[in-house]
C-alpha cells in the first residue's frame, strides 16, 4: 500500500465521513467486542445479526465491531444507529433479544425500549 502523506490523512478523514453519508447505509450496527463482550457472548450475537441480515435481503445495513463500550457488566452490547437519528445502545443481549431488535429496529425502524439502555453520544472532550 502507498505510504501516506499528511494531506492523505486529511483526505482519508473526509472520504470516510463522506462515504458514511453517501454509502447508502441507512443503518449501522456496531457489536461491542472487547474481551468483556466476547466473554459474555458477543460472537453468537454477531452471528445472529449476520444471519438475520442475510434472511432479510436488506442492502443498506452496515455491520461493524468496536472494543469495550464501558459498561462491562451489561455485555453483550450492540449499538444501532440509523442515519439522521441518535444511536441506541442495547445491553444484556441474548440471541432471542437480538432477533427481536433486528426485526423491530433494523427492519421496522422502531427502537425497542425494553432492551435499550440509552440513546445518544458520550461526552468526548
Amino acid at each position: 500500500m502507498a505510504k501516506l502523506t499528511i494531506a492523505d490523512l486529511k483526505k482519508i478523514k473526509e472520504d470516510f465521513h463522506q462515504g458514511l453519508r453517501e454509502g447508502g447505509f441507512r443503518v449501522k450496527i456496531t457489536v461491542h467486542m472487547g474481551t468483556c463482550g466476547i466473554a459474555a457472548g458477543a460472537r453468537p450475537i454477531m452471528n445472529v445479526i449476520m444471519e438475520e441480515l442475510a434472511k432479510s435481503n436488506l442492502k443498506d445495513v452496515a455491520i461493524t465491531t468496536s472494543g469495550c463500550a464501558g459498561l462491562c457488566s451489561q455485555e453483550p452490547m450492540a449499538t444501532i444507529e440509523t442515519t439522521g437519528e441518535a444511536p441506541v445502545k442495547y445491553v444484556s443481549l441474548t440471541e432471542d433479544k437480538m432477533k427481536k431488535i433486528f426485526a423491530e429496529h433494523v427492519v421496522g425502524g422502531k427502537a425497542v425500549p425494553e432492551y435499550a439502555l440509552v440513546v445518544g453520544h458520550e461526552t468526548t472532550y
Partner: protein, 587 residues
C-alpha cells in the same frame, strides 16, 4: 409561563407567545389566562417550553401553529394535550438520553475518546477521527523541545500509578546524549481488578502508537517496544495488526509521513510476572533475563534498556498524548485539580451495580463514582470500603466517601490512586481476609531478590493466615504494623515498597475487626470459616426461613414461625445460610 431564555427564543418561543396572545383574545380568555415570560427553564433541547399553572403542566416543543389546538383543548375543554407533554425517562416508551443517566453523565472521554466508535482493526477509522494528525503536527510543526515542554506544561502525570510528571521524564531523557534511545510502553497491567489498559490496547491500539511516535520525537528515539502481558491475547493481536497497518501506510517505520523521522515498534510479550510491570524488571525481561528490578540510580532515562537512555510510559499515559498535542497544554489542564490534571480511567468492580470502565475528571468525589456512576451497592447491601490501587494500594472506608479522587487526596488516606482499579466492598467483606488476599498475591509475585520483600511479605502473610484461622496472638497487630513499615522502607522496588499498604490501611480503618479475630476468635463478616460457629442467635433470628431455603444439606432446621437451628452433624460449613440471612443472625 413561556420560556424566554435564549435557547427557547432561538427556537421561536416569542412567536408562540404572540400566537397565544392572539388566540386568547379570539377566544375571549385574555382576562382569565395570564401570559408570563420567564427565564431559562433549563430544558433547552425541548424548547419552546411552556408551563401552565395551577396544574403545573410542562409542555415542550410548542410551535405557534399548535397554539389554537392547545388553547381549545387545555384552556377551554380542560384537557392537557398529551403530545406536548414531556415524558420522563422512567416512562416505558422512551429511552433515556445517554447524558442524562449517571453512568455516562459524569464521564468525559479523553483517553477513551474513540470508545465504541471505531473498529480497532481498521486504521482508516482511527484516521477518520483525527488519528495521526497529532503525530503529523509533532513531526512537522514542532521541535522536540516544544513537544516536551507542551506535555510538561499540560501537567500530565503517569497513569500507571506512580504519577511522575510525564513531560519531566521525557525532558530528562531528551537531555542525555546518545544515538540509540528507546521509547517503551508498559502494557503489563498486572493489578488484580485493573483492565483500563486492556481496553485501550484492544479498542484503540493506534492511540498508543501515536503517543509513542510523539514521545519518540521528543526524546529522539527510533526504536520502541510495547510490553504486553501474554494474558491479553486480543490486545496483542490488535496491537500487532495496528503496527502492521501503520507500517504499511508509512505511519511507522522509515521516513514517517515523509518527514524523515524513523521509528520501529515491536511487541514483547510478558510471561506472567506481576513484577515485570516495574520498569527495571520490565527492561530486564525484554533483555531476555529473569524479570528482577535493580537499584536506581542510574535511572532508565539515563541508562535503561540495554543501558541506553529509555522512557517507559503507561498505555493510558500514551493515549492521552495525541489530544494534548492537537489541543494544547491548557486544554488538557482545564480539567482536574491543582496537582492532578486531566482525566483518569477507573475500572469499577466488586459489589457495585454498574461494573465497567469509566473516565472522569480528576477530583471527582469517590461518592459520585461509587453511588452515581457505579449505581450503588448491589443487592441493597451497605458500602464498607473501596480498594484503590490494587495490591499496592489500600482500602478507603465509607467515612472518607467524600474524598476527591486524585493523586494527593487519595495518598492522604493512606491508599494510592494507582493505575485505576477500584474494587468496591460491602458489609460481607472481611478486611483482614482482604489484606490476606492481597498478600497472597504479592508474596507469590515477589521476585525474591531482596530480603525485606521476599521474607517480609511471607512473614506478613503467615501472620495474616494465623489471624484468619483463629490462631491470632496478642501483639500480632503491632508486629504487622512494625514489619509493614520496615518492608516499605527497605525494599528494592515498588512491589515491596507498597505491598504492605493493604495491611496498613485495613488496620488503620478496621482495627476492631482484627481485634475481634485475635481476642474473640470471631469474624464479624462471617467470612473466615474457622471462626464461624454456625449457630443461630435466637434473639436476632427473624424466623423468615431464608436460611432454610438456602441450605443444601438439610442441616438447617426451621418451621414457619420458629427460630432456625443448625444441626452440626449435617452442616458442611458452606455458608449458604449466612449469605441468605439479611439480619446477621447466624454467628
Amino acid at each position: 409561563m413561556i420560556c424566554a431564555g435564549t435557547g427557547c427564543v432561538a427556537n421561536g418561543s416569542l412567536k408562540v407567545k404572540d400566537a397565544l396572545e392572539t388566540e386568547l383574545i379570539k377566544r375571549n380568555l385574555q382576562n382569565e389566562v395570564k401570559i408570563v415570560l420567564t427565564g431559562c427553564n433549563g430544558f433547552c433541547a425541548k424548547g419552546p417550553v411552556m408551563v401552565v399553572y395551577p396544574e403545573d403542566i410542562f409542555y415542550q416543543l410548542v410551535r405557534p401553529e399548535d397554539v389554537p389546538f392547545l388553547v381549545e383543548e387545555h384552556f377551554i375543554k380542560g384537557r392537557p394535550v398529551e403530545k406536548f407533554l414531556y415524558t420522563p425517562p422512567a416512562a416505558k416508551n422512551t429511552i433515556p438520553v445517554m447524558n442524562e443517566i449517571p453512568f455516562f453523565k459524569h464521564q468525559v472521554l479523553r483517553a477513551l475518546r474513540n470508545r465504541s466508535l471505531i473498529d480497532a482493526e481498521k486504521i482508516e477509522e482511527y484516521i477518520a477521527r483525527d488519528g495521526y494528525l497529532a503525530a503529523a503536527k509533532a513531526l512537522t510543526e514542532m521541535t522536540p523541545e516544544q513537544i516536551v515542554s507542551t506535555v510538561k506544561s499540560s501537567g500530565l502525570r503517569g497513569r500507571g500509578g506512580a504519577g511522575f510528571l510525564t513531560g519531566l521524564k521525557w525532558e530528562l531523557c531528551a537531555r542525555v546524549t546518545g544515538d540509540i534511545k528507546y521509547i517503551l510502553c508498559n502494557g503489563d497491567e498486572g493489578d488484580p481488578g485493573a483492565f483500563m489498559d486492556r481496553s485501550v490496547m484492544e479498542a484503540d491500539p493506534h492511540s498508543v502508537l501515536e503517543g509513542m511516535i510523539i514521545a519518540a520525537k521528543g526524546i529522539n528515539a527510533h526504536y520502541g517496544y510495547i510490553y504486553v502481558r501474554a494474558e491479553y491475547p486480543l490486545a496483542v493481536h490488535r496491537l500487532q495488526l495496528a503496527i502492521d497497518q501503520a507500517m504499511d501506510r508509512g505511519l511507522l517505520g522509515k521516513d514517517i509521513l515523509g518527514t524523515g523521522f524513523d521509528l520501529d515498534i515491536e511487541i514483547y510479550q510478558g510471561a506472567g510476572a506481576f513484577v515485570c510491570g516495574e520498569e527495571t524488571a520490565l527492561m530486564a525481561s525484554i533483555e531476555g533475563k529473569r524479570g528482577m528490578p535493580r537499584a536506581k540510580p542510574p535511572f532508565p532515562a539515563v541508562k535503561g534498556l540495554w543501558m541506553r537512555p529509555s522512557v517507559l510510559n503507561n498505555v493510558e499515559t500514551f493515549a492521552n498524548v495525541p489530544p494534548i498535542i492537537l489541543n494544547g497544554a491548557e486544554w488538557f489542564s482545564s480539567l482536574g485539580t491543582e496537582k492532578s490534571k486531566g482525566t483518569k480511567v477507573f475500572a469499577l468492580s466488586g459489589a457495585l451495580n454498574n461494573i465497567g470502565l469509566v473516565e472522569v475528571p480528576m477530583g471527582t468525589p469517590l461518592k459520585t463514582i461509587i453511588f452515581e456512576i457505579g449505581g450503588g451497592i448491589k443487592n441493597n447491601r451497605k458500602f464498607k470500603a473501596v480498594q484503590m490501587g490494587g495490591p499496592s494500594g489500600g482500602c478507603i472506608p465509607h467515612t472518607l466517601i467524600d474524598t476527591p479522587v486524585d493523586f494527593e487526596n487519595i495518598n492522604k488516606t493512606g491508599a494510592i490512586m494507582g493505575s485505576g482499579g477500584m474494587v468496591v466492598m460491602d458489609e460481607t467483606t472481611c478486611m483482614p481476609a482482604m489484606a490476606k488476599f492481597f498478600l497472597e498475591f504479592t508474596e507469590d509475585e515477589s521476585c525474591g531478590k531482596c530480603i525485606p520483600c521476599r521474607i517480609g511479605n511471607k512473614t506478613l502473610l503467615t501472620i495474616l493466615q494465623r489471624i484468619t484461622n483463629g490462631e491470632g496472638r496478642e501483639g500480632d497487630i503491632e508486629l504487622l504494623l512494625e514489619l509493614s513499615q520496615q518492608i516499605k522502607d527497605t525494599s528494592l522496588c515498588g512491589l515491596g515498597q507498597t505491598s504492605p499498604n493493604p495491611v496498613l490501611t485495613t488496620i488503620k480503618y478496621f482495627r476492631d475487626e482484627y481485634e475481634a479475630h485475635i481476642k474473640e476468635r470471631r469474624c464479624p463478616a462471617r467470612v473466615c470459616t474457622p471462626l464461624v460457629k454456625f449457630v443461630v442467635d435466637k434473639d436476632k433470628c427473624k424466623k423468615c426461613g431464608q436460611c432454610f431455603k438456602a441450605c443444601p444439606t438439610g442441616a438447617l432446621v426451621w418451621e414457619k414461625g420458629q427460630v432456625a437451628y443448625i444441626d452440626p452433624e449435617k452442616c458442611t460449613k458452606c455458608k449458604s445460610c449466612i449469605k441468605a440471612c439479611r439480619f446477621w443472625s447466624i454467628d
